[in-house]
Subunit: 221 residues, 2 copies
């Protein structure tokens, strides 16, 4: 069976978990204390990052490379459109969330509040938390703008862009950092993706010392 | 004609410039003071980042999304292998350089020394510079390890992985931050890619206030 070395609230791992589940690939989840960079783990991925996927007799790293590989080797269901211009838009948005949103929001809220404690790096920096709380509003507004005239983030069909965004937002939802009242269209989009069977494993995540809010698992939040 | 809004030493812009030149797409280069985030520029890319490419009647952002688009719409010469496993390796390495190398090396050396001054953010942080100088050695050793049994970084053919790496290293070479004596195979690889016609525009870059070392443009460095 496939194996995924992961960390429960890592948005990069969640993106891969969503892609695996949509493609109906059964996977054994193994929690990896990646920050300890054990020799075994470094052999799997010298970048010392999760996710690392073992599948098809290979060990794979880098979440976006893995997702594109899954889509290229398993056609059903497609997670990327066929048209190059639409693919460009999917990849632009994956980059938006995994780079811009990650550095402006995820690293400033989730990493300050959860990762620092879990990895023994001390207390949250309140300046970072404040900056992240401010930045997430701007990002939700951008998502609102996109979803106001599109069914899914990159167009008419669900793609890896939706998984990248949902991966970050679901991790931030675990720490009550998402104001779902800010935009009805963003909330509707999240409700739609949250109710997919692929999301179940993510909603079952538990991080010791951090209890998610009741609405975290509620499909009717 | 195609237009590229760019910054001369940006490795992300250089990667796209290399891909455009290999595909023989003529492009007008327009220097963008992206940190000023003018309304015109934000309309082109709300992420406020370079590169932004205008081509095929569209405005495109995110360097990796652009490079994949160029390869999907212009087959000759191919910049990605056809096999999914090899494509995974190319994308893993693009991620390695644009994410890990970028945060551990480029942002700590080039951004401290050049970008801070150009964008009026003050003086280099010596702790960052020291960390970057230490980290680049480890990355050159990793490249040595890869190139010791491969012709190009991701395998037998030149790919976007080589452009991503060469884009970062060429920018760092402009500020004399690369010790080419560390590995003969890495130096040979760089000499090979540096001598390609696609590299000419990059070797002609000039940033006021920063003079590159004589070997920067020398193909026989």
């Amino acid at each position: 069976m496939a194996r995924l070395y992961h960390a429960p609230l890592s948005p990069f791992c969640r993106k891969v978990r969503l892609a695996l589940a949509e493609k109906r690939i059964e996977v054994q989840l193994i929690e990896e204390r990646y920050w300890e960079a054990s020799p075994d783990f470094l052999r799997r991925n010298p970048a010392a990052k999760v996710p690392v996927l073992q599948l098809d007799g290979r060990t794979m790293a880098e979440s976006s490379a893995i997702c594109e590989y899954l889509d290229e080797t398993r056609a059903d269901p497609p997670l990327m459109p066929k048209d190059p211009t639409q693919r460009l838009e999917v990849r632009r948005l994956v980059g938006w969330f995994d780079d811009k949103f990650h550095s402006e929001v995820t690293s400033k809220l989730l990493y300050e509040r959860v990762n620092k404690k879990v990895t023994g790096q001390g207390y949250p920096d309140s300046g970072n938390v404040k900056a992240g709380s401010k930045a997430i509003k701007y990002h939700l507004d951008y998502m609102h703008w996109l979803l106001d005239h599109r069914r899914w983030l990159a167009g008419d069909v669900m793609t890896l862009a939706d998984f990248a965004a949902a991966a970050h937002l679901s991790s931030l939802d675990y720490t009550s950092d998402v104001d779902w009242n800010r935009s009805a269209v963003v909330k509707d989009w999240y409700a739609k993706i949250k109710s997919r069977p692929a999301f179940r494993s993510i909603l079952a995540d538990q991080v010791p010392g951090f209890r998610p809010p009741p609405h975290y698992t509620d499909l009717d939040f």
